[in-house]
């Protein structure tokens, strides 16, 4: 049987997530040695989406439809996908490293007897095998792993690949199957997190963000002051600062917080773990202030300031006050 690379698509608000488009690029790179990709789309009504993606990518698409696949829950999604996979020789099953992706992938791997490697950032191939690189310790170390099983389930780090480029040419074939998956969680609803609407982050031109490096809650004063200098400035935060209760979660920027792309992003005492970076890397200009010269945040910053922010920011504020630029 032909060797396939299965891509599990993720849907949100009636369309594909951007991360799904990135997984398609990933799968194309993985498949350059000959395996053929196929996109599997679990959902409630997916025929039109399946046709859309097959046309845009030239890749075959299989839609799996069931009422139970409307909102995500692990067990029905897993059983529906396994059902489709059993009829194909999928050497790789690729998902986005989204909350759905990493919820689903490991259990899928166990049931397939496959290896599972998450948050993949790089692929390398040689005569002996295919190797997958992922980050550890917040990005300070990169580790290369190799599966030792026949099949592998992979999740792809958002942002590590760009969204696939549409190709003109033949549309992929589309097939839609009805599923009768096992039951999962019951009474599933989707709602907004409390306080979600009040966030001013998306409208801000300048975001000054506080990370663990601010040291204590009192130091938020200087962060707020710095944000206040700019006409449309707002205060952001890393998740840790919110977990500590120093700022409400509506300020959180990152993977499960807000994704922002302001004109200016000033990261203060933020180490730059990938979860945070994914939420702000598209900012037009990034300035990072951190006492650790090896902080991963410096990898995405335009201007890097290695200083103790609790001394640097007050000094900066004072200079701004005493030397007004006319």
């Amino acid at each position: 049987m032909e060797e396939m690379i299965a891509i599990i698509a993720e849907l949100s608000r009636g369309g594909f997530t951007r991360a799904t488009y990135e997984v398609i690029s990933f799968a194309r790179e993985l498949g350059s040695a000959g395996s053929r990709p196929v996109i599997i789309i679990p959902g409630k009504n997916v025929r039109e989406l399946a046709e859309q993606i097959a046309c845009a990518s030239g890749i075959d698409a299989i839609g799996i439809e069931a009422e139970a696949l409307d909102l995500y829950s692990a067990e029905p999604f897993k059983s529906a996908i396994l059902n489709v996979l059993q009829d194909m020789n999928a050497a790789y099953v690729c998902l986005p490293h989204s909350v759905m992706g990493f919820d689903l992938a490991p259990g899928l791997a166990v049931d397939l007897g496959a290896a599972c490697i998450t948050a993949v950032e790089e692929i390398r191939e040689d005569e002996e095998g295919t190797y997958f690189t992922r980050s550890m310790w917040g990005g300070k170390i990169r580790a290369e792993l190799v599966p030792v099983t026949q099949r592998t389930v992979l999740t792809v780090l958002p942002g590590a690949w760009t969204a696939f480029v549409e190709e003109s040419g033949l549309a992929g074939l589309v097939r839609v199957v009805k599923a009768d998956p096992v039951s999962g969680a019951s009474e599933i609803t989707l709602k907004e997190a409390p306080g979600e609407r009040e966030s001013e982050l998306t409208a801000a031109d300048v975001i000054v963000s506080a990370g663990r490096g601010i040291g204590k809650e009192e130091n938020l004063g200087m962060i707020r002051k710095l944000a206040g200098i700019f006409a449309r400035g707002a205060v952001g935060a890393s998740r840790t600062v919110c977990d500590l209760g120093w700022l409400e979660y509506k300020h959180q920027i990152g993977f499960t917080g807000k994704t922002v792309s302001p004109g200016l992003y000033i990261a203060c005492g933020i180490s730059g773990a990938i979860q945070h970076i994914s939420g702000m890397k598209d900012s037009q200009m990034v300035i990072a202030i951190n006492i650790d010269p090896d902080a991963p945040i410096f990898g995405v910053a335009d201007y890097c300031i290695v200083e103790d922010l609790t001394e640097f920011i007050p000094a900066l504020l004072e200079l701004m006050e005493t030397c007004p630029i006319s």
């Binding site: 990493f102 989707l190 410096f298 201007y303």
Partner: protein, 256 residues
């Protein structure tokens, strides 16, 4: 209820780690502590126990001898018993191996709930809890940011934090594995009575090799420090010089 909390011990400070000579794992010159996400898991277990009288909380950890200090911390925070699954050397233990070990242990018990953190701060895999559930063939919910009441010991209401500021909420049938996101609760200080009890308490220790003899599914073959990005400009000089340089940059870009 019987609750099993799975905790991992991780290096306290990433500044104290170095890649070992073979490039296959790290050496840590500093101290260790409980994985932050597992602290939230333990606190959530304790809170669940406070709601349901008669609940017994057991904690388990996979790792070398040093993890006993983290198991003691877990006892201080309210776990009743602790089990150490002993792995002899300092090496990478993959999520599949960890999950296989814990599942091999858990299958002998009757846990209603297995709670662990969404990921470990060191390897950041986000896999172990889900694999434990799959091996035990029980339900799983990850990234749980809020837990509601347990209904008749048969199900629990949970809210999962997902992207774009949304939550997926539902009722999960027990027994289940729940992996918690940070911020689900605010861990409290240990009660003195628990601290005193923990001082003299023995852990149950099981050799990993006796518990599970399966094959690993993947291998970590090399580690490296990422290349320093050359994209950014490091401002130079003393503090005030850097501040002045920054003001100039912001002014030139018409940002101030």
């Amino acid at each position: 209820m019987e609750i099993l909390v799975c905790v991992k011990q991780v290096p306290d400070n990433e500044g104290t780690i170095d890649i070992n000579d073979k490039g296959t794992w790290i050496t840590c010159g500093g101290t260790f502590r409980m994985n932050r996400f597992d602290e939230f898991a333990l606190e959530e277990a304790v809170r669940t126990g406070e709601e349901i009288p008669g609940t017994v909380i057991e904690v388990v950890s996979v790792g070398p001898g040093r993890v006993v200090s983290t198991l003691r911390k877990a006892l201080e925070r309210g776990a009743a018993t602790a089990t150490h699954i002993l792995v002899e050397n300092e090496r990478y233990v993959s999520p599949f191996e960890t999950a296989s070990l814990i599942a091999s242990y858990a299958v002998t018990g009757h846990y209603d709930l297995i709670i662990t953190g969404i990921m470990a701060e060191d390897d950041m895999n986000c896999q172990t809890g889900q694999m434990i559930a799959a091996i035990l063939k029980i339900r799983c919910a990850t990234s749980v940011i809020h837990r509601g009441p347990v209904r008749d010991g048969a199900s629990v209401y949970i809210e999962r934090e997902i992207e774009e500021g949304q939550r997926l909420c539902g009722e999960v049938e027990l027994p289940a594995v729940v992996t918690v996101q940070s911020g689900i609760n605010r861990p409290r200080y240990p009660a003195l009575s628990n601290v005193l009890r923990a001082k003299n308490q023995e852990n149950r220790t099981i050799d990993a090799g006796d518990l599970w003899k399966g094959d690993v599914s993947d291998e970590l073959i090399s580690m490296r420090r990422p290349e320093v990005s050359t994209k950014g400009i490091f401002l130079e000089g003393g503090r005030d010089e850097k501040a002045r340089a920054l003001i100039k940059i912001l002014h030139e870009r018409a940002l101030i």
